[in-house]
């Protein structure tokens, strides 16, 4: 590898990751993509999922991303996400509660008329991904 690429993960609330890394694999809407240094300028939307990267000391790290988009430049990858957490910062309890809530809403689906399916599905997806990522710590 020729060198390290700068990875920045920012949310409206704060900057989550800002470091030099070896490789990033991000969950693009049309499939995961890997970014190394010297990538041609590239723009993609991201779906809910986990962003993986290998940091300068060869440790593999994971960040949860709740959708957004990424811009790659030859020396830098910027990820703009509506919310993002490093794996160790995931609030498992909260994810579990929101999973239960979403499942309950899906079960009650027939009772409500103005049911916002998209929102429940999105919330379910986020909860599942958060739990999956935090569970894979092992």
């Amino acid at each position: 590898m020729a060198g390290n690429i700068r990875l920045e993960v920012v949310t409206p609330e704060k900057s989550v990751v800002s470091e030099d890394v070896k490789i990033v694999v991000a969950p693009g809407n049309l499939g995961d993509f890997g970014i190394l240094i010297g990538h041609t300028p590239f723009l993609s939307t991201l779906k809910v999922g986990s962003l993986r990267y290998i940091d300068a000391s060869n440790t593999e790290r994971y960040v949860f991303i709740s959708g957004g988009f990424a811009e790659a430049l030859p020396d830098k990858l910027t990820v703009l996400a509506e919310s993002a957490e490093r794996r160790r910062d995931i609030d498992i309890q909260r994810a579990k509660t929101s999973l239960e809530r979403a499942q309950k809403r899906l079960a009650d689906i027939s009772k409500k008329e103005d049911f916002d399916f998209m929102r429940v599905r999105a919330s379910l997806e986020r909860a599942l991904h958060r739990l999956k990522l935090s569970g894979s710590r092992a």
């Binding site: 409206p12 609330e13 723009l43 939307t45 988009f69």
Partner: protein, 297 residues
């Protein structure tokens, strides 16, 4: 004329008021710090977002998204009015409401229906009092700690409203935080999205010599379709953050003024008290001296 005791009671009361205003000022100061941190934390996101959107908008061309197209006939306008929930912050809410009111007056001449989306109790109360149509209201957000989801939920409603032609135009009235001493009530158009400024060319030339065309995944048009609603949320979130920060700054200034005014009052009251006391002593002395003279004679 007030008796000595009255003046003393008054001094005590003013001192108590001063304690309260001072405490409120201190609370506002610490909350202001938090709000400013939120504002600073948001800046990198907003900056990057604008940059990407700018370069994309240029590429996608005109009419890429229905959110960009102005309506020929504007019949229904929604105003997002951001105010604080609580008072005691000087002219803060008055300024915002005046700005909204002027805007409504200006637009009413063209026979349009105006509805409100309210953030904050003061604005809502004003809308109720003036029999304005309130489409939704959210209290307990401005001035408190809130996340981006507040803006995206509310923003989505506005975008949907625009797409389903419930609204033809959407504006936001908020307080721009210029500095600690200056907050300006501002009216900004949210929808249709006004033409996006593209990044300044000089900057592109010097800082990023390799700035080439991006490869887009999916196509620029689809990408823009995904980003534009988010642009609305970003605008709304920044308006809410600015208003929150302004509220605390305004309250801090107002409380500062109140505390100073209390000091002045205590000073002048103490002076009045001392004068009255001295007058009473002098009068008593005169009496005694007068009495002694009379006895002598």
């Amino acid at each position: 004329m007030a008796t000595l005791k009255d003046v003393l009671i008054k001094i005590g009361a003013v001192k108590k008021t001063k304690q309260i205003t001072k405490a409120m000022g201190m609370v506002a100061t610490s909350k202001l710090r938090g709000a400013q941190q939120n504002l600073d934390g948001f800046r990198p996101y907003a900056g990057k977002f604008a940059e990407v959107l700018g370069s994309l908008a240029e590429k996608a061309g005109e009419g890429a998204s229905p959110l960009l197209v102005p309506r020929e006939e504007v019949k229904k306008i929604n105003i997002v009015l951001c105010t604080s929930d609580r008072g005691l912050c000087g002219g803060f809410n008055v300024n915002l409401i005046t700005a909204a009111n002027n805007f409504v007056k200006e637009r009413s001449e063209q026979e349009v229906d105006i509805s409100f989306t309210n953030f904050g109790k003061k604005g809502r109360d004003w809308c109720r009092k003036n029999k304005m149509q309130i489409d939704s209201e959210q209290l307990g957000i401005v001035g408190a700690k809130f996340g981006f989801n507040v803006a995206s939920t509310a923003g989505q409603k506005l975008v949907d409203g625009f797409l389903y032609e419930t609204y033809d135009e959407v504006y936001v009235v908020y307080s721009e935080f210029v500095s600690m001493a200056r907050q300006i009530a501002t009216v900004k158009q949210l929808l249709p999205i006004p033409p996006i400024e593209t990044a300044e060319e000089e900057e592109v030339d010097t800082d990023k010599p390799y700035q080439a065309e991006h490869i887009c995944e999916p196509s620029p048009k689809e990408l823009l379709g995904d980003l534009l609603p988010r642009h609305v949320y970003v605008q709304l979130y920044s308006a809410l953050l600015e208003t929150s920060t302004s509220e605390h700054a305004a309250r801090m200034a107002a409380m500062d003024n109140a505390t100073t005014a209390c000091d002045d009052m205590v000073d002048s009251l103490t002076l009045a008290y001392n004068k009255a006391r001295q007058a009473a002593i002098t009068a008593e002395l005169m009496d005694i001296v007068g009495g002694a003279e009379a006895l002598k004679g």
